[in-house]
Subunit: 403 residues, 2 copies
C-alpha cells in the first residue's frame, strides 16, 4: 500500500516548530510504501492554493540544520478555517491523493484537523489526520506542556534575570510585558529568574486573575518602598473583572484581528500605559519593555529539552499514524522528574479548547507563583541555564561621615 | 610605597562591564604594595556617600562568577558630576587615602575622571586616575570599538535574525527599535542578521542620517511591494533635519532626564508611532518591537571577544597605572584581522566627546550599511554565532489549478 504525506505549520512560529516538521519528514521518509512527503507553504492557506514543496528532494543534512532554526520553515498562517475552508482543504488533499495529513499548531489548528478528518470520513476517503502540538502559550489541554513553550519561557527567564540585574544597578521600576492572551504560563515563567530573596520579578500579573489598577499601583508602591526598586512581569492579556483587556481600558481605539481580538502583540502600548499609572505614585524612574516577537523568535535561546520533545512529537505523530488506526493529537505526558511519554489523544479533546494556569500554580497573593509551578517549569528550561552572581557585602567604614 | 585602589562603574550597564571590574580587582590585588581594593556602590554617588565595599575580602572564585554576570555588580548611577560634585569626590578619595582611581564608563564618566584628576593635581595630591571604556553605543572617540558594544550588537543580530524568520513565516512589516541616541552602530549591527538576498532587515535608519517620514513610508512601501514583507531596524535617536527627535515630532509631551534629553528608552512609543505611519500606506499587518533594556542586560547572549577585551581593559588599566606615570583612558586599537592592542590615551581626547558612525560605514542609500562596516563588525560578534537555514525550493505541480 502506497502512502502520500502532507505536513504543514500553523499559527505563531516558535523556536522549535521546525524540529517537529523535520521529525515528521525524516520519520515519514523511512516508512515503507511512502511515495511522497509534501509540505504546504504557509499552513492551510498553502493547501487551498496547492502551494506544495517536495520534501523528499530535501537533503537530510539541510533538514537537520532547518530543524535547529526558529520560526516556521514552511511558512505559517493566521487563517482560521471554517467549514467551507476545511472542505476546500479536503478537496485538495483528495486531488493530490494525500493519505496522511499532519498539522503542527495550537488549538485552532487542532480544530482544523478535526473538521478535515470529519470531511474525509463523511466522504469515505481514507485519510489519517494527526495534529502535532505547538504553542508558546502552553495553553493546550491534555498536555503536560507544549513544544515551543519551554524555549519561550527560557527567553523570559533570561530576560528577567538580566532586567533584574540592570534594575538593581540603576534602581527604579521596570515593567516587562510578556505574551499570552489567555494563559499566564509564559509570564509566570519569569519567576524562575529570581535567585536571591530581593531579586525581581517582585510582582507577576497573569490573566488567570482579575487585574485591578488601584491594587496594582499599591502593590508597586509597597514593593518599591521595601526594596528601593521593583521589577514587574505582566501578561499582555491582563483584564478587569468584566474580562475587558486592560489595554482597551487604558487606551483608545485598537486594531482587531480576523478573530475579533484586540491586537496585544507588536505594540508597546500596555507597558507604556502601566508606566504612566505607576508614575502617579510619585516614583520617578519607571521603564517599560514589551518583549514582543523576540520571545518567540530570538535565534540562539532555546531549551534543549524543548528541542528534543518538539522533534519527538513529530516522529511520534508519524509512528502513531503508521502503527495505529486512529486520528488524534499527539500529547506530552510527564512521567518521573523528569521524563515524558507521548500519547495520541482524541482531536475533540484538544480542539478549540484553552488551558489556563491551574490554581495550584498561582500564589494566594495573586502576584506570585507557587513552588509547585517552579518545580513544574524548571526541567523544561533545559541545561546550561545562565546564572547570575553578585558581590558579597564587605562594607568599608566611613571616614568623613562616621555617623 | 603603599597603594589604595578605588574602582567604580558608571552609566548604563552592559553584558561585560563586570569583566572590566574583575580585571581591575584581580590585577590590583596582585600588585606589590596594594593595601586595599575598594569598590564604590553606584558609581560616583557611592563615592560622595562613602559607600564602599572591600573587594580584598571577595573570593577570586566569586569574582570570576561575577565577571560572567551582566549589568554592574557594584551598582551604577546616572549622576553627571559638575565641578562641585567632582570636588566632593576628590575630598572623599583624599580622606580615604586613595592613590589610584579607576572609573569604568562612557564619555561622561571619562569627563568625571578628567576633572577629578585636575582637582588632585591642583591640590598636589598624588592620585592616579584611569578611565576604562564601556558603552553599548560604541560612541567613544579614540577607540576602534568599546567593551559592551559587541555583546549588545550580538543581541541585535540574533534578534533581527529571528525577527526576519518570523516575518518570513507570517509576512507583514516589522519595525525593531534599537538603542543609540547619537550613534547608529548598534542599529547598523542588525545588518549582520542578513544571510540571503531577500532577508531582512531590508531598511536601516541611523541617527547619522536625517530621517524623513515621507521617504520612510515610500521606502517601506517599495520594499513591501518587492518582497511581500519588510523588516526595518530603526535607531531610537532618529531625528529630522533640525535635529528634533522623531519621537518628539510624532508624540506629544515626553519625559526628559537630568541632562535635558527626551526619554527614548523604556518606552515603546517610537515603534508604535512608526507603525501608525506605515499603516497609512495601506499595509495591514504591521508590528513593532522596542528592544529596550533586553539588548544591554539579557543574560546569556554575549560575545566571547567582548568578554575577553572587557577583561583586558580592566587589567591594562591597572598595568598602565602601576607601570606608567600618566593619567588617561584605556583605548582599544585594532591590529590585524582580528586582534587588538591597548593604549593609554589622554583623558581630554575622550572626555565628553561623541563618536558617530563614519561615512564609509553607511551606504549611499542611507538605509543600509557598507561592506566596510560588515567587515568591521563581524569579528567583534565572537564565535558560535547562531545561523539560520531554510528549505530549498522544490515545488510540487498543481493538480486542480494547473494554470
Amino acid at each position: 500500500m502506497s502512502a502520500k504525506i502532507l505536513v504543514a505549520q500553523g499559527g505563531g512560529p516558535t523556536a522549535v516548530i521546525n524540529q517537529s516538521l523535520v521529525g515528521v519528514v525524516l520519520e515519514a521518509r523511512r516508512q515503507a510504501g511512502v511515495t511522497a512527503v509534501y509540505g504546504a507553504r504557509h499552513g492551510v492557506r498553502g493547501i487551498i492554493n496547492e502551494d506544495f514543496v517536495d520534501l523528499g528532494q530535501e537533503t537530510s543534512h539541510n533538514l537537520e540544520l532547518v530543524a535547529g532554526t526558529p520560526a516556521a520553515a514552511l511558512g505559517s498562517t493566521r487563517d482560521k478555517p471554517d467549514a467551507a475552508y476545511c472542505h476546500k482543504i479536503f478537496t485538495v488533499l483528495q486531488a493530490h491523493g494525500i493519505t496522511h495529513f499532519f498539522y503542527i499548531g495550537g488549538n485552532d489548528s487542532s480544530d482544523t484537523v478535526r473538521i478535515v478528518a470529519e470531511e474525509a470520513a463523511a466522504a469515505n476517503y481514507p485519510l489519517r489526520c494527526i495534529h502535532i502540538p505547538k504553542t508558546i502559550d502552553n495553553d493546550l489541554v491534555g498536555n503536560d506542556h507544549t513544544p515551543g513553550f519551554a524555549s519561550a519561557a527560557r527567553f523570559v527567564v533570561q530576560a528577567f534575570a538580566g532586567a533584574n540585574l540592570d534594575n538593581a544597578a540603576l534602581p527604579g521600576v521596570y515593567v516587562g510585558v510578556v505574551m499570552g492572551r489567555h494563559a499566564g504560563f509564559l509570564t509566570a515563567a519569569s519567576s524562575l529568574a529570581k535567585k536571591f530573596e530581593d531579586d525581581g520579578p517582585h510582582l507577576i500579573y497573569v490573566p488567570e486573575r482579575v487585574f485591578d489598577i488601584d491594587k496594582f499601583r499599591a502593590d508597586v508602591k509597597a514593593t518599591y518602598d521595601k526594596y528601593g526598586r521593583c521589577v514587574i512581569a505582566v501578561s499582555e492579556g491582563i483584564h478587569d473583572a468584566d474580562g475587558t483587556p486592560i489595554l482597551s481600558r487604558l487606551a483608545g481605539d485598537l486594531e482587531r484581528d480576523a478573530h475579533g481580538n484586540v491586537q496585544l502583540s507588536g505594540t508597546g502600548a500596555l507597558a507604556d500605559l502601566l508606566c504612566e499609572e505607576i508614575k502617579k505614585t510619585g516614583i520617578k524612574r519607571v521603564r517599560g519593555d514589551t518583549f514582543g516577537y523576540l520571545q518567540r523568535s530570538f535565534v540562539g535561546c532555546v531549551s534543549d529539552v524543548d528541542q528534543r520533545e518538539a522533534r519527538e512529537v513529530g516522529e511520534k505523530a508519524v509512528q502513531f499514524a503508521f502503527h495505529g488506526k486512529d486520528n488524534g493529537s499527539v500529547a506530552i505526558k510527564r512521567v518521573g522528574y523528569y521524563s515524558v511519554n507521548y500519547e495520541l489523544i482524541p482531536l475533540a479533546t484538544v480542539a478549540g479548547k484553552t488551558r489556563h494556569m491551574e490554581d495550584e500554580f498561582i500564589a494566594a497573593s495573586g502576584t506570585d507563583v507557587t513552588d509547585a509551578f517552579r518545580l513544574y517549569l524548571r526541567p523544561l528550561l533545559g541545561s546550561n541555564l545562565p546564572d547570575a552572581y553578585r558581590l558579597r557585602p564587605n562594607a568599608v567604614a566611613k571616614v568623613l561621615n562616621k555617623g
